[in-house]
Symmetry: C4
Subunit: 350 residues, 4 copies
Amino acid sequence: MAEALADYEQLSALSPAVHDFVAGGSGAELTLRRNRSAFDAITVTPRILGGVESPDTTTTILGTAAALPVAVAPMAYQRLFHPAGELFLAEAAAKAGIPYIISTLSSVPLEKIAAIAPSWFQLYWLHDRGAVRALIDRATASGCSALMVTADVPVMGRRLRDVRNSFVLPTEVTAANLVDKYTEAHSALNGASAVAAHTAAAFDPTFSWSDLEWVRSVTEIPLLVKGILDPRDALAAIDAGADSVVVSNHGGRQFDGAPASIDALGSVIDAVGNDFPVLLDSGIRGGTDVLKALAIGADAVLVGRPLLWALAAGAAEEALTLLGRELRDAMLLAGCADLAAVADLVTGRS
Amino acid sequence: MAEALADYEQLSALSPAVHDFVAGGSGAELTLRRNRSAFDAITVTPRILGGVESPDTTTTILGTAAALPVAVAPMAYQRLFHPAGELFLAEAAAKAGIPYIISTLSSVPLEKIAAIAPSWFQLYWLHDRGAVRALIDRATASGCSALMVTADVPVMGRRLRDVRNSFVLPTEVTAANLVDKYTEAHSALNGASAVAAHTAAAFDPTFSWSDLEWVRSVTEIPLLVKGILDPRDALAAIDAGADSVVVSNHGGRQFDGAPASIDALGSVIDAVGNDFPVLLDSGIRGGTDVLKALAIGADAVLVGRPLLWALAAGAAEEALTLLGRELRDAMLLAGCADLAAVADLVTGRS
Amino acid sequence: MAEALADYEQLSALSPAVHDFVAGGSGAELTLRRNRSAFDAITVTPRILGGVESPDTTTTILGTAAALPVAVAPMAYQRLFHPAGELFLAEAAAKAGIPYIISTLSSVPLEKIAAIAPSWFQLYWLHDRGAVRALIDRATASGCSALMVTADVPVMGRRLRDVRNSFVLPTEVTAANLVDKYTEAHSALNGASAVAAHTAAAFDPTFSWSDLEWVRSVTEIPLLVKGILDPRDALAAIDAGADSVVVSNHGGRQFDGAPASIDALGSVIDAVGNDFPVLLDSGIRGGTDVLKALAIGADAVLVGRPLLWALAAGAAEEALTLLGRELRDAMLLAGCADLAAVADLVTGRS
Amino acid sequence: MAEALADYEQLSALSPAVHDFVAGGSGAELTLRRNRSAFDAITVTPRILGGVESPDTTTTILGTAAALPVAVAPMAYQRLFHPAGELFLAEAAAKAGIPYIISTLSSVPLEKIAAIAPSWFQLYWLHDRGAVRALIDRATASGCSALMVTADVPVMGRRLRDVRNSFVLPTEVTAANLVDKYTEAHSALNGASAVAAHTAAAFDPTFSWSDLEWVRSVTEIPLLVKGILDPRDALAAIDAGADSVVVSNHGGRQFDGAPASIDALGSVIDAVGNDFPVLLDSGIRGGTDVLKALAIGADAVLVGRPLLWALAAGAAEEALTLLGRELRDAMLLAGCADLAAVADLVTGRS
Ligand SMILES: Cc1cc2nc3c(=O)[nH]c(=O)nc-3n(C[C@H](O)[C@H](O)[C@H](O)COP(=O)(O)O)c2cc1C
Ligand SMILES: Cc1cc2nc3c(=O)[nH]c(=O)nc-3n(C[C@H](O)[C@H](O)[C@H](O)COP(=O)(O)O)c2cc1C
Ligand SMILES: Cc1cc2nc3c(=O)[nH]c(=O)nc-3n(C[C@H](O)[C@H](O)[C@H](O)COP(=O)(O)O)c2cc1C
Ligand SMILES: Cc1cc2nc3c(=O)[nH]c(=O)nc-3n(C[C@H](O)[C@H](O)[C@H](O)COP(=O)(O)O)c2cc1C
């Protein structure tokens, strides 16, 4: 049984190749490991005698009320992990009262997901500008309340586990949102990742700031840019009309030289100021990590892999309950009545 | 045979679950490990030719004369480790000439302990305010010479070892000071710690600064607040009338993101000034650690787990003798005639 | 199959002694290990939305146009690894569009190599000044477009693996550029490296700044000094007429107390200024390392051991293709259209 | 065969208890390990093109000309390791042209040693002041050219290996300089070190600065104080008339909280100035370590354990030859013609 969010990896009984697809990072996985070592090294000095009975974890993330300062990170192809895929995890998010972020590459059509859970939509930049436009319109029409543009995947990072496993998607798991002319993801290729081949064919690496301005111009819903680490890019995103940025190294799956997201957070906040909403992901493995990120200055976090492990273990809802409990526990032990109190905690490193 | 205080863990022949109850910390046990790595990394530069024959380890802690700058940390349920429980360890403390701190959750009534050893009383904040008042009054009446209020346990930290062991107290080990309406500590619960369930039922998490002021108002004996890491809380404790603070992260058993106590010590001392008595615990494993804590600025330390291991090994008195010897040895080798000389040593990290 | 440049070590099926000859460093191999730990600890903050389709890796190194900011490090006796030796690797370099640096101790005559690939010549300082002069003249005559003088080998560093292996060259592998009166390299010596004995006999440790000035005076082609770590030496090299310096600790094979080259790079650049061309080697194992070196300020790098492993695996060309791909991938993921953009990235350590 | 000074430990075929007596440190052996990790972390930036043919390692240490900036550290009871004990090692030192330092606890009478090798005498402070005076007079009379007073052994550090081994000296190995009324070193004691018991009986922990002044007053030969880490003590030693100090933590055998000697060196030199001779020991394992210590500012070093291992391997002379070679190699590779050039090298940490 899972007693901590971090337990689900062991409880997920996935095939080695699918396990690797989730667990792996790019290159030598230096950034992947750094994401964890950085969190482990952070200290937060707890407060006492706050008179807190039950900490209030609620917040509003870009206009969306949320029971926790957490959203489900956009993650592709969730039917790899559970027959119901995205629907199962989105339902859990809805029950937990947090936003579910639908991936461009969801294996269930976005409309079906948005119908059962308050969702945001994550956008990848495709060669086919009409397809991009269609995705934005479908997302808005289905009631997605924010658009998260992922900016750190001009191409997929070279994930050597997938390459060595010649990883390929099973026929029944498809990019359900795309009228996909590309068959790469399902064509096994010796010594290559079929998923990488698919994105190489479908994604447009020339994605630029002016493209982002175009995105801004075609939708009114809040716009987030995901995958920012350099403060100069955070400022550029604001210039382009973004309402928020997600400090992220894509869980160590893209540029394998990047700092841990949590180590990059401070300088981004210094640049954009305390009032601009900044989210963070990469390396969150439990409630204490959420508290650490918020103590350093994030407004909310996205959680990735732990929820896929839980999905595979058929325990998505339980996992989010556990995460909420871990966060409340951490807040109580750190003497915090609410998230504002968390932001006031002193942090260090050792 | 124990040649160093740190040897007793191996000499204690406890059941795995009871061993885990003592050894474990909360969450991923990051703070637990940090307590030790921090002490190991501290260096103290010894002095020479001080002409010291036998170092003087005596001190006065909050008005209590002590043969060593050490008190026995308050620790619950000592009959888990030895049939005579608290009585055995308290007697050893009395022989060693140091204060014994009686836990609210002692498994022998506080009066019996206070009768055989100069004691302080440690107070947990219970839902039942009458019970709290009764405990304070009983402690004072029994001659406890100080009241140590533990402020870092609004709820018990989630100690996963106990949870996974479904840890439960044996029938004969009870919270002997409490006319306990709660039976949780003795009711095995699959996938939960019965001890945690008990404290969840009995402890009042809303404990606040004004409650502390009330405590201050109902007793005249010296008041210590245990579990402080943030300098702002140290100052608040002084405002509330505390006579001393104990810089502690509860041995890594409460908030698993906290800095090592020894790393938090400096900033607390900076805030309260050198004249205010500051104690420290968490991670002390031998005489050199005591010297390190005093060199950094603590006035005295509490020692926890090592004394439980010794208690389990039936060697509580021997352990305190050994600790005294280790401290004297360390002082002699560091050229210190007395504890004032220790405070004058230069410290570093590497 | 190799999926990363770092894979070739495992794919090279060399005898243990030859493997050790390549892999080993001097002394306790502290500098050897530091070269890698330093690179792993460096972080580079990627940029986004640069609109980059295919990054431009071309550059000009000392007047030589190069498809990558990379040259093949000068490495002795390449027929140890492949029957065609230097010819095989030089041909791969030519195909990859990068300079091949011919070692003084190449096992194929320099003229043959220079005939098939755009080459530079690396010069060791020999007792026999006539031989030195002849080498320079031959190199120039064969069209080598730069002269790289190696300054960190007054004697060979004591490589204990070779000593313990009593490493000796097979008869067919010789220093083909030298009319060699020395037979040491082929005479097995119990408890000694025959290669070290050879260099001890042939190399002149008294090599000095005025000798370097003499070298400068006898050739017009660009002059590089390889093996600089102290900024004072970089300035002296400029004074002596050098056109470039190579910050290098010889891959941890010479002074086993040296800092990692990459850690020495910054202070050298500070001394010589941004406009003076600075190259770097020691520890580069893939495209991300190249990007790290350039982000810190190198103009180009030399790659050593990985190419010998590839040579031994019969895959020199494939290896350089892979390295180019890794660099382009890294640039794309870091949002860099060209090498100037790489130089603008922010670097850190963790 | 030994190819590096560090090899002798493996070549010495000692009984486990004797091995432990040499290898061990006090307490948890934190300082023992720190001595090595500190040396390993130090970097020295080599210079090039110094035109050095054969580096000059000669120096004068307190008026004694020495072929290397090295002296044999004073070490007790050398007949434990070789039948000829001190005589064997002293003869090797004489051949190597470096001072041999005779321990108060030598197992061969000091006069015999001084007769065959240029020696210094190391003094422990004994209860019996007459015996101390006699030792000083005998040392001077036998031609010892310096007196090194060890100041960091008020009592012996608690070396747990010896305690657990109930270490005791064999009958034939005695403190040959003392008309010893104490029999402790030869009386096995369960759970105690007989050697520690002996020093506890014989040594006077009250050794003070005024005693040192008395020592200064009774001899004219150069006086060194060994065991200094705090700059304040270095200044006090100068006040008391010392001609030199040895920065040392006794090889991690005394106060197990001390910084690495090499980490304490800088602040001592800052206090006493560059002209006052400062020696260092603790952790030197080869020629590169000697160079590191000199680059940081030591005038010479003492080498301890490696020479005992070599003595046990019957290879004392060979070991010193190897050490000299390692130092010359390191100097050559670092571009240093002499020890003044070493002092000019830049040092770092990583
Ligand atoms: C299997 C998997 C699939 C992912 N798919 C997407 C995706 O489709 N779109 C996207 O923006 N990020 C994607 N990500 C990245 C996550 O959104 C998130 O940035 C990352 O997982 C956070 O790190 P963590 O897993 O350490 O929490 C994916 C991550 C994983 C592990
Ligand atoms: C088994 C156990 C029981 C404890 N019970 C109490 C308690 O009843 N009250 C309290 O204030 N602290 C309690 N503590 C915490 C100790 O007082 C002390 O803060 C901690 O053990 C110090 O760390 P150390 O064990 O590393 O020395 C307990 C600790 C342990 C290990
Ligand atoms: C087997 C081998 C032979 C080498 N021979 C030479 C040489 O002849 N001339 C030279 O200047 N450097 C020589 N080097 C050093 C390389 O040019 C280069 O500085 C070093 O290998 C870079 O480090 P890396 O191997 O970690 O990339 C040699 C290195 C190796 C591994
Ligand atoms: C077996 C042994 C015996 C020693 N005996 C003495 C001694 O009699 N007097 C003394 O001043 N130091 C003594 N020392 C300490 C050495 O002089 C020296 O400070 C220490 O060994 C240096 O550290 P290293 O062994 O790491 O080189 C002894 C050390 C060892 C290992």
